[in-house]
C-alpha cells in the first residue's frame, strides 16, 4: 500500500468516500426513522411513556459490537436473511450503523419537541390548528434540536469501528472505512499512518458538521 504514492492516495479516497457513504446513509436512514418516532413519542400521551423514554435513553449506551453481532447473525448464511448475501458489504454496515443511530435521534427528538411543545402549545391551539398542522409547526420550531439529533447520530457512526469491522470484514477496496483502516494500521504498528488517517477522519467530520451547523442556523435553508 505504501509502495506507490499515487495508489496510496487513490486508496485513501476510496476509504474516505466509503466512510462518508456508510455514515451518511446510516444517519439519513436512522433520522428518517428516529425523528418521526421521537415526535410521536414526545407529543402523545400514552401508558408506559416513561418506560419507553427510559429504554430509548438506555439504548444510547448500546455497544456497537453488539449491534454488529446482531446484524451479523441476521445476515449470516446460518441466519434468517443469509440468502441475501449482503454480509461483508457496505449495505450490512449501513444496517448495523443505522441501529446505533435510531435511539440517539429518537431520544434527542423527544426532548426537543417536548421543549417546544411546552412553550407554544397554547398559542398553536388558540389559533385553531389541527393536530397535523400543530405537529409540523412544532417540528419546524424544534429544527435546531432535530438537526442536533442528526449530528450526534453522524458523530457516533463516523467514529464507530466495532460493528463496521464485524459485519464489513475490513476488506481492502470493498468494506474498508477510515475507522477500520485506523485499527488495521495500529495493529500493524504503523502508528503515524494511523494518526494521519485519524486526521483525515476529523477533517471529513469537520466539513460535514460545518455544513450541518449552517443548516441548523438556517444560514442555508
Amino acid at each position: 500500500m505504501r509502495l506507490d504514492l499515487t495508489l496510496d492516495w487513490l486508496d485513501l479516497a476510496d476509504v474516505t468516500l466509503l466512510s462518508l457513504y456508510v455514515s451518511g446513509m446510516a444517519t439519513i436512514l436512522g433520522s428518517a426513522i428516529g425523528i418521526p418516532l421521537g415526535t410521536l413519542i414526545g407529543l402523545n400521551e400514552f401508558g408506559g411513556k416513561g418506560a419507553v423514554k427510559t429504554i430509548t435513553y438506555t439504548l444510547y449506551g448500546f455497544p456497537p459490537v453488539l449491534s454488529g453481532l446482531f446484524v451479523y447473525y441476521i445476515f449470516s448464511r446460518a441466519g434468517p436473511l443469509g440468502d441475501l448475501g449482503i454480509l461483508f458489504t457496505p449495505t450490512a454496515m449501513i444496517v448495523a450503523e443505522t441501529l446505533l443511530v435510531i435511539p440517539l435521534v429518537t431520544g434527542i427528538t423527544i426532548t426537543s419537541v417536548v421543549e417546544v411543545d411546552r412553550n407554544i402549545k397554547e398559542s398553536i391551539r388558540a389559533m385553531g390548528a389541527s393536530t397535523s398542522q400543530s405537529t409540523l409547526t412544532i417540528m419546524r420550531e424544534a429544527w435546531v434540536g432535530l438537526l442536533m439529533a442528526c449530528m450526534v447520530g453522524f458523530g457516533r457512526v463516523i467514529a464507530e469501528v466495532g460493528a463496521a469491522y464485524l459485519v464489513g470484514g475490513n476488506i481492502d477496496g470493498k468494506t474498508r472505512v477510515l475507522t477500520t483502516a485506523i485499527m488495521l494500521e495500529t495493529r500493524m504498528g504503523n502508528f503515524e499512518w494511523a494518526m494521519a488517517l485519524g486526521a483525515v477522519l476529523l477533517t471529513v467530520a469537520l466539513c460535514v458538521f460545518f455544513f450541518m451547523r449552517k443548516l441548523q442556523e438556517r444560514e442555508l435553508l
Binding site: 500500500m1 448464511r77 461483508f88 470484514g169 470493498k174 488495521l184 455544513f211 443548516l215
Partner: protein, 337 residues
C-alpha cells in the same frame, strides 16, 4: 444572497454528494464481476504483508478476486462454521482438526509454518535463554512469577498463539486458572500485547509468547526497544512451530460456497508455484514463512509435474497429521532453577 439561491446551492451540493456516493458504490460493485472468493484468515498472514505478496499472482492466473477477512483464528473458524466464507487459512491445529471432524471443512492441508518466539525483558531475570527447551523456559517463568519477580502477559483471546501458550502450560501439568497475579490475561492482539509488554516491562520484567513475524514488525518499527527474544525456536525443538493450514469449507454442508475456486486456491497454495512463492517472501531482511505442504521439497522444482496431492484432503479428513506437538523432553521431570 437571496433565499432561493441558497436553497438551490444546498440542493445541488447535497444532490451531488449523495449521487456521487451512490454512483461510486455502484461502479465499485460493477467492477466485481464474478463473485469474489472469501478468504478468512488470521491477522498475522495479512498484517505481515504475505497475502498482499502472493494473492495477486493467483488472482491474475485465475482471473478472479480474493476478498480477505483478517481476524483471529477463532473468529475465522466461527465465520466458517456459519458458512459465511469459502476458505480458511488459519493456525490453530487442534481447533482445525475439530472443525474438519465436525464436518465444517473438507480437509486440512498443511501450507507453511513460522515460529513462535518467547519474548521478554532485555535483562531476562528468569534466565530463560539458557533453557534446554520451550517447556523449561515456561517453567522458569512460572517459578519466577510465583516468587513475584516477573510476569507473563497472555493473549487470552483463544487465538492460535493463545492456544499454543496454553498447550505448553498443559504439558507442564500446570493449570492456568490457578496462576496468581503474575499471569495477566489481556485479550489483546499480538502487536498490542507486545506494546503492552514493552510498557509493563518498565515496572516488572515481563514475558510473552509471540509469532516471530509480529515481533520483528514491532521491532523494526522501534516500538519495543526493551524486549528481546529470550527463547528461540531451535531445530531440536518443534514445540514452538506455528503451523498454518488451508481448509476448504464442506460443500455438502454449505452448497452456496464458491467451492470450485476455493479448491483451486487450496491446490495452488500447496502446489510448487504457491509454495515457492511463499518461500520467496522476505521482510525485515529474512524469510518469514516456511512452506511445508505434503510432498513439497524446497528449492526442487519438478518441471511440468502436475499439482500435488489430488486427494490429500481425503487423507487429512481421516486423521490429519498434527505437527508433532511438543518436545518429548518436556514430558520428563523438569529441572527447576
Amino acid at each position: 444572497m437571496s433565499l432561493d439561491w441558497k436553497i438551490a446551492v444546498v440542493v445541488v451540493v447535497v444532490g451531488a454528494l449523495v449521487s456521487g456516493a451512490i454512483g461510486y458504490i455502484l461502479i465499485k460493485d460493477d467492477e466485481g464481476g464474478p463473485k469474489a472468493l472469501l478468504l478468512a484468515t488470521t491477522t498475522s498472514t495479512y498484517d505481515s504483508g504475505l497475502l498482499d505478496y502472493i494473492l495477486p499472482v493467483f488472482e491474475e492466473e485465475n482471473d478472479c478476486e480474493i476478498d480477505v477477512i483478517a481476524v483471529g483464528s477463532g473468529t475465522a473458524m466461527e465465520l466458517g462454521k456459519n458458512g459465511d466464507v469459502d476458505v480458511l487459512l488459519v493456525h490453530s491445529p487442534t481447533a482445525e482438526m475439530a472443525f474438519v471432524n465436525d464436518g465444517y471443512g473438507e480437509g486440512r492441508d498443511l501450507v507453511m509454518y513460522n515460529n513462535y518466539v518467547l519474548v521478554g525483558s532485555e535483562s531476562d531475570p528468569a534466565a530463560t535463554n539458557r533453557s534446554a527447551n520451550a517447556s523449561v523456559a515456561f517453567q522458569k517463568i512460572h517459578d519466577n512469577g510465583t516468587d513475584g519477580l516477573v510476569q507473563f502477559l497472555s493473549r487470552g483471546d483463544s487465538s492460535g498463539t493463545h492456544n499454543k501458550e496454553l498447550s505448553i502450560w498443559k504439558t507442564l501439568g500446570l493449570n492456568v486458572s490457578l496462576f496468581e497475579d503474575w499471569y495477566v490475561s489481556t485479550g489483546l492482539g499480538m502487536g498490542d500485547l507486545l506494546d503492552m509488554c514493552e510498557q509493563e516491562d518498565a515496572t516488572t520484567p515481563s514475558y510473552t509468547l509471540s509469532d516471530d513475524a509480529t515481533y520483528y514488525q514491532r521491532l523494526s518499527e522501534g516500538l519495543i526497544p526493551h524486549l528481546k527474544i529470550v527463547y528461540n525456536y531451535q531445530k531440536t525443538d518443534d514445540a514452538l512451530e506455528n503451523q498454518y493450514s488451508v481448509i476448504v469449507l464442506n460443500e455438502t454442508r454449505f452448497p452456496h460456497i464458491n467451492h470450485t475456486l476455493a479448491t483451486e486456491f487450496k491446490d495452488w497454495m500447496v502446489s510448487e508455484d504457491g509454495q515457492d512463492l511463499i518461500a520467496s517472501y522476505e521482510k525485515y531482511g529474512m524469510q518469514l514463512f516456511y512452506p511445508n505442504a505434503a510432498g513439497y521439497v524446497p528449492g526442487v522444482r519438478l518441471l511440468g509435474s502436475p499439482v500435488l496431492s489430488v486427494d490429500s484432503s481425503v487423507e487429512s479428513v481421516a486423521g490429519a497429521p498434527l505437527s508433532v506437538p511438543f518436545d518429548i523432553r518436556a514430558r520428563v521431570p523438569i529441572w527447576c532453577g
